[in-house]
């Protein structure tokens, strides 16, 4: 016997949980709304084109210049250099963990990667500032150790755990029958990994790489503390740069409330938000489109 009151309660709770579950979407909508609300006014003063492709970022000069092109280049180049380090290391670690390591070693190495992920970004930034920067300065004979190269290394180690964990999941879920078939045909374990397992897990690995890049481009404290902070287009990898998140964090405190500078910083936030949003949509698309491979039953 189910009372009608119980039935009503059941239904109510269903809707309650549904309502709570939509919180994430509403938060995302609110973030978008408020970013645009506070960021758009700058475009009354500066055109969108001049804002994005302007070469000069002098927000406190008179007259002020709001061109974020050097900041965008700074962000993109730092992310790309870090990707050159993080993608090979991350994917190779994932292969090691899922295909090669014995289960005992795996249980040691995997937590290490997870702990690396949990290191606070400010600590990594601090490490880059006080340990890596003087080291680079001494050994490469450059003016300042706080530069793009240093920031890229630090960012790489922040995105490796993301790349590694998701790639590993993708490799792990390649059906054993595929690998067995390859081994039975006489391929070595290595050949099986390169020609069977990796291609089968490619979509998952691409997702992992994109999410890793997204994490690197949005990371704030590391680039704020380590990248050097010069708002200009870099000429070499040892030049200081000022990526987008670093500018927001460094200048927000001194920007007058609802002044042009304040609006401009929110507009940078919009640009950053759009960057990571696109990355995430692509990642989501990839992981959904090519989800199943072969006779996957997982």
């Amino acid at each position: 016997m189910i009372h009608s009151f119980t039935k009503f309660k059941e239904k109510l709770m269903n809707y309650f949980f549904l309502l709570v579950a939509t919180t994430s979407i509403s938060i995302l909508a609110m973030i978008t709304l408020f970013l645009f609300k506070e960021g758009l006014p700058i475009f009354e003063k500066v055109g969108i084109k001049a804002f994005i492709f302007g070469n000069y970022w002098y927000p406190t000069a008179d007259p002020a210049h709001f061109g974020i092109f050097p900041l965008i280049i700074g962000s993109v180049s730092v992310t790309l250099i870090s990707a050159l380090i993080s993608i090979p290391l991350g994917v190779m670690t994932a292969i090691y963990l899922s295909e090669i390591a014995s289960s005992r070693l795996r249980e040691i190495v995997k937590p290490v990667v997870e702990l690396l992920a949990s290191l606070p970004s400010v600590v990594i930034g601090f490490f880059g500032m006080v340990i890596v920067a003087p080291f680079l300065q001494d050994h490469f004979n450059i003016a300042t150790g706080l530069n793009m190269f240093n920031a890229a290394i630090m960012l790489a180690f922040m995105s490796i755990p993301t790349i590694c964990t998701i790639s590993e999941d993708a490799l792990y879920s390649v059906p054993a029958s595929l690998k067995e078939a390859s081994l039975a045909l006489g391929a070595t374990s290595f050949e099986t990994i390169v020609k069977v397992t990796l291609p089968a897990a490619l979509s998952g690995i691409s997702t992992a790489i994109i999410l890793g890049l997204s994490r690197a481009i949005g990371e704030t404290m590391v680039v704020l503390m380590v990248a050097g902070g010069a708002a200009m287009v870099p000429g070499s990898i040892f030049d200081p740069v000022r990526p987008l998140p670093g500018s927001i964090a460094a200048e927000m405190a001194e920007a007058p409330y609802r002044g042009d500078h304040y609006y401009a910083l929110f507009a940078i936030g919009i640009v950053l938000f759009i960057f990571t949003f696109c990355f995430n949509i692509i990642a989501d698309y990839l992981s959904n489109k090519y989800r199943q491979t072969g006779d996957a039953t997982l």
Partner: protein, 342 residues
């Protein structure tokens, strides 16, 4: 070739290394078909034997290649471990001298060049705990909807997309949102409340993900048994599914807290201040926080070089806090997984 086949195990995981060694050993071992004696060199069978020998030469090259690359993969994994240990080593080696009872229980003195970090510790604990209290119920309820109630459809897909995008929003953008919405629009001012809310939004995806995983691992038979005994869906969830998933959910909660404790960018504009002599008295007070304190001392303090030991000390305290919580969660989860497998 049958050696390889027999060495495969169903999950394809168990002992690839052993399998690999076995392969090498097999290459080194003499051909089981036996060496060809010179006397019967022209017979048909020996011709066949010679044909079989040829791949052996290639196999050596192939195993060498495999050997080479497997070592490369192994060293890649070791680089990560090395990075972690180098960072930890420098923080501990330079930081442990700064740690003392006074350092942990005194407020900063003399323009923050001396004294302790008590207000920062208290501030960080307040912020993380506040964020946890806000995000934990919301995250767990969201996960319950996604796992227990929802059927796959456009709405669920939208919710999942929302969660994964929320997880990808840069921390500094959360800070901007917190500043414009909580601090300014809702007039909370720079306060623990505004900071905790901002951090809560950030940790929501972590908690939802962990809870979903925990709920997924509860066997369907538990639910069926409960429903079969006449319990309603809600009763089943509250009395059967949630208790069974509780350890996993708590692990996610711990991971969520530890993530918020180390975040700097979201609290920069919403909760943290340069210096405040007093401990916070209400949730509307602004606070000092460990991560922000490190940043301030290292980049904007009055005497950056002089306060370096304090910076290392603060970093060490923060690391111990965050890694400690993570280690507990990871070990806890590893034990859980082992239990589930049995």
């Amino acid at each position: 070739m049958n050696v390889k086949v027999s060495a495969i195990n169903i999950d394809g995981m168990k002992n690839p290394e052993e399998r690999y060694l076995q392969e090498i050993r097999r290459e080194k071992a003499p051909d089981p078909t036996g060496p060809i004696s010179e006397s019967e060199s022209q017979t048909a069978s020996s011709l066949e034997n010679r044909k079989q020998q040829k791949p052996l030469f290639f196999n050596k090259k192939r195993t060498l290649l495999q050997h080479l690359f497997f070592n490369l993969f192994r060293s890649a994994a070791m680089v990560n471990a090395l990075a972690l240990f180098i960072i930890l080593y420098f923080m501990i080696a330079n930081g442990w001298r700064a740690i003392s009872i006074d350092f942990l229980t005194q407020p900063p003195r003399e323009m923050m060049t001396q004294g302790g970090i008590l207000p920062c510790i208290v501030g960080t604990l307040c912020l993380s705990l506040g964020a946890f209290l806000i995000s934990f119920p919301i995250g767990v309820s969201s996960a319950i909807y996604l796992q227990e109630y929802a059927s796959e459809g456009a709405l669920v897909r939208a919710i999942r997309l929302g969660i994964s995008n929320l997880a990808g929003v840069p921390s500094v953008v959360f800070g901007l949102f917190g500043l414009s919405f909580f601090v300014t629009y809702l007039k909370m001012g720079v306060s623990i409340l505004a900071g905790a809310l901002t951090l809560a939004l950030m940790s929501l995806p972590v908690i939802i993900g962990a809870t979903e995983e925990a709920l997924k691992s509860v066997p369907a038979t538990y639910r069926e048994a409960s429903l079969g005994l006449g319990a309603t869906k809600l009763q089943t969830i509250l009395r059967v599914v949630l208790p069974a998933a509780a350890p996993g959910i708590l692990t996610g909660g711990i991971l969520g807290i530890s993530r918020t404790a180390g975040e700097t960018a979201p609290i920069m504009f919403t909760a943290a201040v340069f210096f405040s002599p007093n401990l916070p008295r209400s949730i509307f007070d602004e606070v000092m926080a460990l991560p922000y304190h490190i940043y301030v001392l290292a980049t904007a303090g009055t005497e950056i070089e002089v306060t370096r030991p304090l910076q290392y000390g603060t970093a060490l305290v923060l690391i111990s806090l965050v890694l400690g919580m993570n280690l507990i969660a990871i070990l806890f989860r590893a034990r859980l997984r082992k239990k589930m497998r049995r």
